[in-house]
């Protein structure tokens, strides 16, 4: 399956509407809150619009006729209106904001949850920097929209609608004229939006590229220094930086196109109202007071419209970010669990039957693999580098599914096992050990629920029983020794020791060691092989190694080369083959 986000299968962008709908689906459970918030917004806008209406009335009826008493009465009325608006405004801001924040929360959870569901292939096909940029900075684009713009967005639309209705009801002809420039703005927006969105999407892509470039260069800095290639770092960086600059400037210009135009339209509307209004007054069908408030209403209509112009660009950025996020959300894990009720007595622990596999379509790496692993035995996979050993092991642990053929655990398709069950039974010590920043204890108990709540003393007891205490002794502060995920504080050999302890403590039925001791000295390695020998008699071991001593005690040895697995026979035969290259 193609998990590469930068080579999407469809290759076509989603429309604003479709993207927004997808987003709405995500917040469907907030419907009731959203409805109340919307009501509050309508109420607030209505009350705020009532102000100018009352003011106009006061000017026409009282100020023009010099009745100060009426002015005072209506001022009191206005005060009540404004107080009510104050309360409702508070409610509106709070409710809308809450919905926004909760949506962001849900969204982040959804993205992260999806990341956790996707198989290893997804992470191999995408650059870490780009993924981090999608989850962090693209969700943040949405965050900015939700926490800052959404409220104004909805508020502005509602104020505009309200003001628009007032404008039309007060005088239909004048209203239509006043709204004409707005219509032009709308057409203008519709015409330009696809272009603006494209510029935004292009920019987010270069941001992802820049972040991937930085991530790669910074984490490989020692090679850059050792090979005197500081210029390489600069050159690659400058290229990405330049690309980002170009796309960001293009985006900035695109995003800024709306506001000046909207302002112009707003001025045009005022002028139209004034000219036509004066004309109407001179024909006697309009009053000065109404004209004053009419101009105010036009302001109430056009200043949110101007805000919308600024927000619209924001909205486009958010939608472009949302699209990049939904590219992750729509990915489906093609490694689901299937049903398999076959019952097979006396099946080997694990079997590979006519397995074919390739990482990319069309390029097969493993051809027709058949092997069977018995309970309690030790197997070794040997062969030249690049022959397919790690790939075979990854299929046994179901990091990938075969393209053709089946992998059986206890005679049942391995795909029918629940992941928790499968990973409990199959332990895999990876070639590149992975550590999390924290203590040795946290790292060896990672993913291990059984001992999670043990005290250090209890845990040390467990470690003693598993014969691991000498390994733990190699860390100066034992369980509480601090380790970092990156950097040189911990040597590769020590990382491998931690990974080893982590896997052994899980007590798997099948333990795969993929060159898991390659960087550990031979004395310590003897210790490790003693520990392996003392694992329960039922534990099956699969060892991938180049060093012959580590596979000396194997019951059976498989030779893996050119994507084929063959039974290599005895240890002596293997040595012979390895030494003299009689592989075929």
């Amino acid at each position: 399956m193609n998990y590469n986000l930068n080579k999407p299968v469809t290759g076509k962008g989603v429309s604003n509407y479709a993207a927004f709908k997808g987003l709405l689906q995500l917040i469907s459970h907030e419907k009731s809150k959203l409805a109340v918030a919307l009501l509050a917004t309508i109420g607030n806008s209505g009350l705020n619009l009532l102000g100018p209406l009352l003011t106009a009335y006061v000017i026409d009826t009282y100020v023009m006729h010099k009745q100060y008493h009426g002015v005072l009465v209506y001022s009191a009325v206005l005060l009540v209106v404004y107080l009510a608006a104050f309360g409702i405004n508070y409610l509106q801001t709070k409710l809308m904001g809450t919905v926004g924040q909760r949506t962001l929360y849900t969204l982040r959870n959804a993205v992260f949850h999806k990341l956790q569901q996707l198989p290893v292939a997804f992470f191999n096909q995408n650059k870490a920097g780009d993924l981090i940029s999608r989850v962090n900075s693209d969700t943040d684009k949405l965050n900015q929209f939700f926490s800052q713009s959404l409220m104004q967005f909805v508020g502005s639309i509602i104020s505009m609608t309200g003001a628009g209705i007032f404008l039309l009801t007060l005088n239909i002809k004048l209203g239509a004229l006043a709204l004409l420039p707005a219509l032009l703005s709308l057409i203008f927006t519709r015409l330009l939006s696809p272009w603006v969105k494209k510029k935004n999407a292009a920019n987010l892509k270069t941001v992802g590229g820049l972040s991937a470039e930085i991530q790669e260069s910074l984490s490989n800095f020692k090679v850059v220094v050792a090979f005197g290639r500081r210029d390489y770092f600069m050159q690659r960086f400058n290229e990405a930086n330049q690309k980002n600059y170009t796309s960001a400037t293009a985006m900035g210009i695109a995003n800024n196109v709306f506001l000046p135009f909207y302002s112009l339209m707003s001025s045009v509307a005022q002028l139209l109202i004034l000219v036509y209004g004066v004309h109407l007054i001179s024909t006697g069908s309009f009053t000065i007071g109404l004209l004053v408030s009419y101009i105010a209403y036009a302001n109430y209509f056009y200043s949110p419209l101007r805000q919308l112009a600024a927000l619209w660009a924001n909205f486009q950025t958010a939608m472009a970010g949302w699209e990049r996020i939904s590219e992750i959300l729509v990915l489906e894990n093609n490694m689901g669990t299937i049903d398999d009720h076959t019952r097979q007595e006396a099946a080997p622990l694990l079997e590979m039957k006519q397995v074919h596999f390739g990482y990319d379509e069309g390029r097969e790496i493993l051809h027709n693999i058949n092997l069977s692993l018995e309970k309690g035995k030790t197997y070794a996979l040997v062969g030249p580098t690049g022959g397919g050993k790690t790939t075979t092991a990854s299929l046994i642990a179901r990091l990938y599914d075969p393209v053709k053929g089946r992998v059986l655990l206890d005679g049942k398709d391995i795909r029918s096992f629940d992941p928790a069950e499968r990973t409990r039974r199959i332990g895999f010590i990876l070639q590149d050990p992975i550590l999390f920043t924290g203590t040795v204890r946290e790292n060896i108990l990672y993913g291990n629920e059984e001992y999670e709540n043990y005290t250090n003393d209890q845990l040390e007891e467990v470690i003693r029983t598993a014969n691991l205490e000498k390994l733990l002794g190699l860390f100066e502060k034992g369980l509480e020794t601090q380790v970092q995920s990156a950097g040189e504080g911990v040597s590769l050999g020590q990382k491998q020791l931690i990974a080893f302890m982590r896997a052994v403590l899980r007590k798997p039925d099948l333990l795969i060691l993929d060159e898991a001791t390659a960087n550990i000295d031979t004395v310590t390695e003897q210790l490790l092989s003693e520990i392996l020998d003392n694992l329960p008699a039922t534990t099956t071991r699969v060892i991938i190694a180049h060093r012959l001593n580590t596979i000396e005690n194997a019951d059976e040895i498989f030779f893996v080369n050119d994507g084929a697995v063959t039974n290599a026979g005895s240890f002596h035969q293997v040595v012979d083959q390895l030494m003299h290259g009689n592989r075929h």
Binding site: K94, G228, S267, T385, L430
Partner: protein, 580 residues
């Protein structure tokens, strides 16, 4: 009183950043001011129009011309202003990133280890972005806002000073409310930044550790970690929101109250006849003009605070002392090495203690020892990636610090323990230096037996390998690393556990190739396998940072029991290897 003294310091920070863009910023401010002054003029034109009408001297033409011209000019000015502010902010961001990258590229490896790559990533992305926001929005907004507030106030005062004072009185009320709320918000922002950092850490770890998470099925656990951090982020988001939810209604209410005051008082003045109805209308318009800038200044003060914090972090990187690149010596190396009483420690923790040995040019030495003995650290010292705390390392009799960095690194090859593959073609990955010629590239590829597997790649040497090199196996990557080091045609080759991931047969072939094709090479090899190095000129045994023994294989077999123990641990396999 305190305000100015603080301000005097700060401009050298974030505002000083703008100095190289003086012209651009001046132009930006100019367009903003022009646009805004015309904006102030518009309500006046309308007010006059209404007055003229009520006095019966209304004429369409001049009004339309004046108004139309002003509106058109506003359009032009704001458009230019927007374009300039985009250019200015992107230019500032680009150059800031360049400066940072330039600075980082000149730093030592030790510095990089200390300053933590993920923090530098934040400096280069999020921090630069918040400064970009400052340039693109804060500058223009602040200048225009102050201009409008002052301009509108003056205009109001000239129309009717009594009524104007009522309106202007509203400004400090709003200002104080803002000040109080934003002060609280800022501390919350800082705290929520920390939560965001934690959130990012969980995300990063889960992406980089994806394989492990799959193997131990800890997805749920990672998700819970994430939920916890995300929940905290939500809490902070909501607390910030609560503050804003209080702030905005207060501001709107204050504005409304001012409007009410205009109606009540202004209405009285109009009835008195001390104010025209047109002025009354203009007052209402100016009020709406006046409120918005106050809001803007409030929000921008926040943008400035965030940009200042970001700039402080960036300055920290920019002002960190340059790597002491004192070396100027450029010469062709012979390749003799001597270590004289070298000690190294990380903080309190000693890594290497008083190490002394010497290597003749063209000879081969091996360094063996248990896990965490300091073997890799010793190689890093030889490579000048780190500096010893005590003692000196000399090459050809000169302290290695005396050599000019570039020419030094072009003559010393290093094969790292962990493979680093860049996202480019196999060929570019190998020819990772300027000094690589076609001939030296060819020789390196043959020596490291790289052809054997690159021939099977879809585009041979031109195949692009992915970031973490997942399309290559561990052993293939290691051979690529060797070829990269050999392509320099080095005088000294440092191997860090090179053979760990390469099968024995290939390993023998490769080492024989190296011996044959690079006969004058000084070889320093960290290894676990004694069998492969028994014929070396010297073997050094390191344990817990101390040099336990040194000598040829035979000598060590006689005098070092620790060595014998390691040898015995490999005995069974060595037998096989010797027989073959």
């Amino acid at each position: 009183m305190k305000q100015p003294s603080v301000k005097e310091k700060k401009p050298s920070g974030i505002f000083g950043l703008l100095r190289p863009y003086k012209g651009l910023i001046a132009l930006l401010v100019l367009f903003a001011l022009l646009g805004n002054s015309l904006n102030l003029w518009l309500p006046k034109i309308i007010g006059h129009g209404i007055d003229d009408f009520s006095h019966g001297i209304f004429a369409y033409e001049p009004l339309i011309i004046k108004f139309g011209l002003a509106a058109l000019l506003i359009f032009v000015f704001t458009y230019f202003q927007n374009i300039i502010q985009t250019y200015a902010s992107e230019k500032v961001a680009k150059s800031l990133r360049e400066q940072l990258a330039e600075k980082i590229s000149r730093q030592s490896y030790a510095w990089m280890e200390q300053s933590n790559p993920s923090r530098l990533l934040t400096n280069l992305t999020a921090d630069v972005d918040s400064i970009k926001l400052f340039v693109s929005q804060a500058i223009v907004s602040l200048v225009s806002s102050f201009f409008i507030i002052i301009g509108a106030s003056i205009l109001l005062l000239t129309i009717d000073w009594k009524l104007a004072l009522v309106v202007i009185a509203a400004i400090p009320i709003m200002g104080i409310t803002f000040f109080l709320v934003l002060k609280k918000v800022r501390t919350l922002f800082l705290k929520s930044r920390e939560v965001m950092d934690r959130l990012n850490k969980v995300i990063n770890e889960s992406i980089l550790g994806a394989a492990l998470i799959n193997v131990v099925n800890s997805q749920q656990r990672e998700y819970e970690k994430f939920l916890d951090a995300n929940g905290k982020a939500l809490e902070f988001g909501l607390s910030i929101l609560r503050l804003f939810a209080g702030l905005i209604p207060v501001i709107v209410f204050t504005a409304n109250m001012t409007g009410l005051a205009i109606l009540a008082l202004g209405g009285r003045f109009v009835i008195d006849g001390s104010m025209t109805i047109g002025d009354f209308a203009a007052f209402n318009s100016y009020l709406t003009l006046l409120i918005f800038p106050v809001l803007v200044i409030g929000f921008m003060s926040n943008v400035i605070a965030q940009a200042t914090a970001s700039y402080q972090r960036i300055s920290g990187v920019l002002n960190s002392p340059d790597m002491l690149e004192t070396g100027t010596l450029v010469k062709k190396l012979d390749g003799s090495i001597s270590c004289e009483h070298v000690s190294l420690s990380y903080g309190e923790k000693p890594v290497l203690k008083d190490i002394s040995f010497s290597v003749k040019a063209g000879s081969k030495i091996a360094i063996i020892g248990p896990t965490a003995a300091g073997k890799t650290q010793l190689l890093y010292l030889l490579m000048r990636l780190t500096k010893p705390n005590e003692g000196a390392i000399k090459i050809d009799g000169e302290d290695i610090a005396a050599y000019e960095s570039e020419s030094f690194h072009q003559q010393v090859g290093f094969v790292f323990q962990d493979s680093v593959v860049f996202n480019m073609s196999v060929r570019e990955n190998i020819a990772f230096s300027d000094v690589v010629t076609d001939a030296s590239l060819e020789k390196a590829i043959t020596t490291a037996e790289v052809k054997e597997f690159t021939d099977q790649l879809p585009e041979k040497l031109s195949t692009i390998v992915s970031e973490r090199g997942t399309s290559l196996s561990g052993g293939q990557k290691q051979r690529l690393m060797l070829a990269r080091a050999l392509a320099l045609n080095p005088k000294i080759l440092l191997l860090d556990d090179f053979t760990a991931r390469v099968d024995t047969r290939t390993e023998r072939k490769i080492l024989a190739n190296v011996h044959q094709n690079y006969p004058d090479l000084t070889l320093v090899s960290v290894t676990q396998k004694i069998g492969a190095v028994t014929h070396y000129d010297q073997i050094i045994l390191l344990m817990q940072g101390e040099m336990i023994a040194a000598g040829t294989h035979e000598e060590l077999m006689e005098k070092s029991p620790d060595y014998v123990q390691i040898f015995n641990s490999q005995q069974s396999t060595s037998n096989y290897e010797l027989q073959s």
